[in-house]
């Protein structure tokens, strides 16, 4: 297939075959004997917009369903707020322009087939499946539409996707926190479903996550033994980012910015004290922001404890109680990365994430090959901690032995 390069010049590249594209990842997995290691990807994606034909019929409200389905059929409007963005880098990351050329077997959900291809190549045993475009659902101007879209997506995921496949996908479902009552209803409706390990708040939004109206939602999640994830993203439309003239800048800052914003509110308002048994996971903001925020909040808290009276320890201590996904892991300064791992107690709090198929994905080897990690830390981070957290079972005896060896075997 031809891709357009400079001045309209055409460059021929092979049609997309995920297994072939990731052949070098498979070599890495073989070299490192990843079959023997339980690897859990706590942040992988699919393109739910390609499945809206199946998802939208699950919307409950007749009028809103008709509104979205009729408009979509004619291609007249988008359903989820979109953004300017150049994730494909002008076709340089070829799986974006070639995505629709990849062949899959008829009669099986395409997203799941593609997911299993990249998981197999990387040596990943389980993936937490998150949407792509719907990461912007928190920007929707109509909260009832946010509620309906999350409801439809969650029904489709729990009734079609998760049951239909080999049990290697799990999810933290989309939580429409703009409407706390509706969010609570979705926790009650879907919280017990197979493959559901928790709920996910998209952080590209400015709603205060510590608002009193949301406490019943968090309590319901905690009571069910589920987890709460905050998944970040970029937003060129955010007023502060309108000065940025390059996507690189918006992307680099945006993911960290939204997690910094919401994590600050979460910590300073004592949510760790209110919900001490609720596992909280901060996803896809990289790691460099965490030492920054720990130091910044500790510094201010020491002088202004009266503004955070619920805290019984320093903000950084609460942050160390939470979990963080590894991707996109900043790897340019290995000393800084080692310091970051120490500051966040990575051995017990860091969860490997690929973010595949997005452009800045990380392979398991990015963790496995770090020179400063112990064997226990490697096993924990690539999957052991997630196996314990989400109750995932090993897929073979060698994985089971490793989970037991490092204290992560809780399933069965």
């Amino acid at each position: 297939m031809d891709l357009i390069a400079d001045r309209g010049r055409r460059v021929t590249v092979e049609e997309l075959n995920t297994t072939k594209l990731l052949a070098h990842a498979a070599e890495q997995a073989r070299d490192r004997k990843f079959d023997d290691v339980m690897i859990v990807d706590c942040d992988a994606h699919h393109y739910e917009n390609e499945n809206f034909g199946e998802i939208l019929p699950f919307m409950e409200n007749d009028v809103l369903r008709q509104l979205t389905m009729s408009g979509r059929a004619k291609g007249r409007h988008s359903i989820v707020p979109g953004q300017v963005g150049y994730q494909d880098m002008g076709g340089r990351v070829t799986r974006y322009p070639l995505r629709m050329t990849e062949k899959t077997e008829p009669g099986k959900l395409r997203d799941a087939q593609l997911g299993e291809r990249w998981m197999d190549a990387m040596g990943v045993d389980y993936s937490c499946l998150f949407p792509t475009g719907m990461l912007n659902v928190g920007l929707h101007p109509q909260k009832e539409m946010e509620v309906e879209l999350c409801w439809a997506y969650n029904r489709w995921l729990t009734e079609v996707v998760l049951p239909e496949h080999s049990g290697r996908f799990y999810s933290q479902l989309a939580l429409p926190i703009s409407d706390p009552d509706a969010a609570l209803r979705q926790v009650e409706k879907f919280g017990h479903c197979k493959g559901v390990t928790g709920f996910m708040v998209t952080t590209v939004r400015t709603l205060p996550v510590h608002d009193n109206s949301l406490m019943k939602v968090y309590r319901a999640i905690e009571e069910r033994g589920l987890s709460l994830a905050f998944h970040s993203g970029p937003n060129w439309g955010e007023p502060v980012f309108k000065s940025c003239n390059r996507f690189l800048s918006v992307h680099a800052l945006g993911f960290s910015f939204y997690n910094i914003l919401h994590c600050t509110n979460w910590v300073i308002n004592g949510m760790g004290e209110r919900f001490p048994k609720l596992p909280v996971i901060w996803i896809e903001a990289g790691l460099a922001w965490i030492p920054f925020l720990m130091q910044r909040l500790d510094h201010e808290y020491m002088m202004r404890p009266s503004e955070a009276p619920l805290l019984k320890k320093k903000p950084s201590d609460y942050m160390r109680d939470m979990y963080f996904s590894s991707q996109p892991m900043e790897m340019q300064d290995m000393d800084a990365l080692e310091t970051t791992f120490r500051m966040i107690n990575a051995e017990t709090q860091l969860l490997y994430a690929s973010d595949y198929p997005h452009w800045d994905f990380d392979l398991p080897s990015t963790i496995w090959d770090l020179p400063f990690l112990s064997e226990k830390a490697k096993h924990n981070i690539v999957g052991g901690t997630a196996a314990r957290l989400f109750g995932l079972e090993p897929r073979n005896e060698a994985q089971k032995a490793n989970l037991i060896k490092y204290g992560n075997y809780t399933a069965g």
Binding site: A5, V11, R92, F361, T366
Partner: protein
């Protein structure tokens, strides 16, 4: 170091590339401006297939004398090849990673013997 036959000269048009396997190593062989360039097909970032993606002119930004920007443009002379996994770009003529030229793909020599083309690996 051994010579491995990789094809006839006529099979390498300008602007084309082939990925050849020599033992356990993959090598990307490009023909650009009537020259051969051959590099390791393992990206220095995460090991992606560095030579299998888009080939595209280097993007540059022109400044006026008063330091204001004219904007972005494609180089008339410099071509990069791009790892399709994450977009790491390499200079076609040197194999240097353009975002950090200290990083350089291993280069292999290509020799022509009559109409036959060999890579030395």
């Amino acid at each position: 170091m051994a010579e491995q036959f990789i094809g006839r000269l006529s099979e390498f048009e300008n602007g084309s590339r082939q990925i050849v396997k020599v033992g356990a190593t993959e090598i990307g062989v490009f023909r650009h401006e009537d020259e051969f360039f051959a590099y390791s097909n393992y990206c220095l970032h995460q090991g992606g297939p560095a030579c299998e993606g888009l080939m595209i002119a280097k993007v540059e930004e022109m400044l006026r004398e008063d330091k204001t920007s004219v904007g972005l443009y494609f180089s008339e002379t410099d071509l990069n090849f791009v790892c399709p996994w994450h977009g790491y770009e390499y200079d076609m003529k040197t194999g240097e990673c353009i975002s950090d030229r200290k990083l350089k793909l291993k280069r292999f020599e290509v020799v022509q013997k009559g109409d036959d083309v060999y890579v030395i690996a």
